[in-house]
């Protein structure tokens, strides 16, 4: 059974249809890349999977380990193991980065019937996980993402992922706004979190990220549908030829 099954998913925002029948099966241990031009619906798919309420699902279903999740609140999906690394992580002044993350981890642990971590144990865990993305201790004590550079925000997302250990990680354009060094660090962190129990969906506009996070499968989205799927070589083909050769104009009709 696939870890993530997306079946005939349709979604809209306001009266505008954005997703028009997405089908996607992601197995445990697999990394899938979703590519496509701007406006193809990639970020909408990420948001719908995470449960953002601005989007209305009009058809289809999403199963996590065979269990439907579309009816669940975002926090319940997170407890089931869904993690979205945001394209634009929100700055939250006044909420300490570590306090926020401990609150999140403990909320998830409560749902799972696990004992909550006290401040000391959590600090230990956070220190260990922060090494993965070389996140400085100083960032942990600041307000969530407040005043962070683009690269720091993305590293913070991967750091949160490392602490929360999701079943399904969705990375929404994690490469956007990163220089090559930051990209390597972030990708290195993500690679460190690859595991046979975890699935990853990497959404990206450019092939560049996939030099560092090598996907098992590549899908191309256009106009709310997946128009082509293949192995990692598909990404290279896209890099070479652009999106035009796929006949995406046809897909838009």
């Amino acid at each position: 059974m696939a870890l993530l099954s997306v079946r005939n998913l349709h979604a809209r925002v306001g009266d505008k249809d954005i997703l028009k029948g997405i089908n996607l099966e992601v197995g445990a241990g697999e990394v899938h890349a979703i590519m496509g031009p701007n406006g193809s619906g990639k970020s909408t798919l990420a948001s719908v999977l995470a449960g953002r309420d601005a989007y209305t699902v009009t058809q289809g279903e999403v199963l996590l380990d065979g269990k439907p999740i579309l009816e669940l609140a975002p926090e319940a999906r997170a407890a089931e193991g869904v993690f979205l690394a945001f394209q634009y992580p929100v700055e939250i002044p006044g909420v300490g980065n570590l306090h926020f993350l401990r609150t999140a981890l403990n909320a998830q642990r409560r749902v799972k019937g696990l004992e909550e971590l006290d401040a000391m144990d959590f600090l230990q865990l956070a220190k260990e996980k922060s090494k993965l993305v070389q996140l400085d201790q100083a960032f942990m004590n600041r307000s969530v993402n407040e005043g962070f550079s683009g690269g720091e925000k993305k590293r913070n997302e991967v750091f949160q992922m490392a602490v929360l250990e999701p079943r399904l990680a969705i990375l929404d354009e994690t490469d956007s706004g990163l220089d090559i060094d930051a990209l390597r660090t972030v990708a290195g962190g993500v690679n460190g979190l690859r595991s046979p129990q975890r699935a990853m969906v990497v959404i990206t506009h450019y092939q560049r990220l996939l030099d560092y996070i090598v996907p098992d499968h590549v899908h191309v989205m256009a106009a709310g549908r997946i128009v082509r799927s293949g192995g990692r070589e598909l990404a290279l083909e896209l890099e070479e030829k652009g999106y035009g050769w796929l006949g995406l104009d046809g897909a838009r009709r």
Binding site: A73, P74, E75, V90, G94, F100, A107, S143, Q160
Partner: protein, 442 residues
């Protein structure tokens, strides 16, 4: 309203007859207070200063002062919970409870006395000082407080006296009778002296009836004196409260007011600061947190009368359910007050569709070489931030609480770490969204 006025006049007249054994100057002050009150009448929403606050619950209630403190001993546990380490006076329904009070540990040159002791021991001095900052002729509730003057506290700092431990005044309302409490506080800080004063207003669990506290605090700061003043108003859900804080600052003096208005069905806090000596600095911080049908009204007035003074004002409101919060902040810069530097901010967070915030920042500037800025905002919790927190597994109520606390935090953190901060946090926590909705008495 007229019947309300008549009833209060009647109550005050009977009180003055009953409590007649006082010095002549005090009897006269009471009588004048009563005369001013009768002339001014209870305010209505037609009065500009009371446009957003209808005092009908105060006018309609059968409130009267009590004649003695009953069963003070049973309050020891409540006092233990709310008391800060250090000297304190405790008042129950407006009357001093000596057995719950202790003025041990006062620093040299610092005197903290119950008002009655002060009028017995320093009558001539008190007669000169009392009623100088809070003017009965101009304010109905100040006049009513003067008419019913009987208990309170006098904090006096000798020149250069330094009181490192906060001095606390704890005012408890019982709520098992419609009691009217009229505490009066006087602070006179000599040149170069320094102190921290905490006024805590709380209800005693168990009483469910309405109480009415009409408090007046007067502060005079000598040259280069410094006072940190904390006002923690966290009475029960049926309490009515009007509180005035009137401050006059001398040259190079520093005054910081931290007002936390958290409780009460109807609560109004007025802070008036007159900067009368060059180089004086005033900070006015305020946080008001309302839910249910609470009505919380803050009014501040900063009067820059002389050159080279600074003022900083930050008030924030958090309003849930059908609560209503109002802020009116006046900064007046007189013609002579060149080089004034004044900043005022009011920000409000609405947590429900039905909560309401009215904000009226107001600048009156008659000098030309000044720096003055003000701003006001009313907003809701940021939907993106809320989703971000929830996407990490934090349940909605907890996420709302986190974001609300983040909004309020600036004002909590303006309180230096220590027992006062802990007390503020302890009173605030049950008032934030997601906390149990039972009547929280303190």
């Amino acid at each position: 309203m007229t019947s309300g006025l008549t009833r209060y006049v009647d109550v005050a007249t009977r009180f003055q007859a009953r409590e007649a054994a006082v010095p002549a100057w005090l009897a006269r002050m009471r009588q004048e207070g009563l005369a001013h009150f009768a002339r001014l009448g209870l305010p209505t929403t037609r009065d500009e200063a009371w446009k957003y606050t209808n005092v009908a619950p105060i006018a309609d209630g059968a409130f009267a002062p009590v004649s003695s403190v009953r069963d003070a001993a049973e309050l020891a546990a409540v006092v233990a919970r709310l008391a800060l380490p250090g000297p304190r006076l405790v008042f129950v329904d407006g009357r001093l409870a000596p057995e719950l009070s202790s003025v041990e540990g006062l620093a040299r040159g610092v005197s903290l006395k119950p008002l009655r002791d002060a009028w017995a021991e320093d009558g001539a001095w008190l007669a000169e000082e009392l009623g100088q900052r809070a003017l009965a002729a101009e304010h109905a509730f100040t006049a009513l407080n003067a008419a019913l003057l009987e208990d309170g506290a006098v904090l006096r700092l000798a020149p250069r006296a330094l009181s490192e431990t906060p001095v606390q005044l704890l005012f408890l309302s019982r709520g098992d009778a419609p009691v009217l409490a009229s505490p009066r506080v006087l602070v006179v800080a000599g040149e170069g002296s320094e102190a921290t004063l905490v006024e805590t207003y709380a209800s005693v669990t168990g009483g469910s009836g309405p109480t009415f506290t009409n408090a007046v605090t007067e502060v005079t700061l000598g040259d280069n004196a410094s006072l940190k003043h904390y006002r923690l108003q966290s009475e029960g859900d049926s309490a009515l409260h009007v509180g005035g804080l009137h401050v006059r600052q001398g040259r190079d003096s520093r005054f910081a007011s931290h007002s936390f208005a958290l409780g009460g069905a109807l609560a109004r806090t007025e802070v008036q600061v007159a900067l009368m000596g060059e180089g004086a600095d005033a900070t006015l911080n305020g946080l008001y947190v309302g839910r249910g049908t609470q009505h919380l009204d803050q009014r501040t007035a900063l009067d820059h009368a002389v050159p080279n003074c600074t003022s900083r004002e930050l008030y924030k409101g958090v309003l849930d359910d059908r609560a209503r919060g109002t802020f009116h902040g006046l900064v007046r810069v007189r013609q002579d007050a060149q080089h004034t530097d004044a900043r005022q901010q009011n920000r409000n967070l609405l947590l429900s569709e039905h909560a309401q915030a009215d904000t009226r920042p107001q600048l009156e500037i008659f000098a030309d070489d000044v720096k003055c800025a003000h701003g006001a905002a009313v907003g809701r919790l940021d939907a993106q931030a809320l989703f971000y927190l929830r996407s990490r597994g934090i349940p909605r109520a907890e996420a709302e609480r986190l974001l609300t606390y983040a909004f309020a935090r600036e004002l909590v953190e303006a309180v230096p770490e220590g027992p006062v901060r802990a007390s503020v946090e302890g009173l605030l926590a049950p008032r934030l969204p997601g906390a149990a909705r039972t009547e929280v008495a303190a």
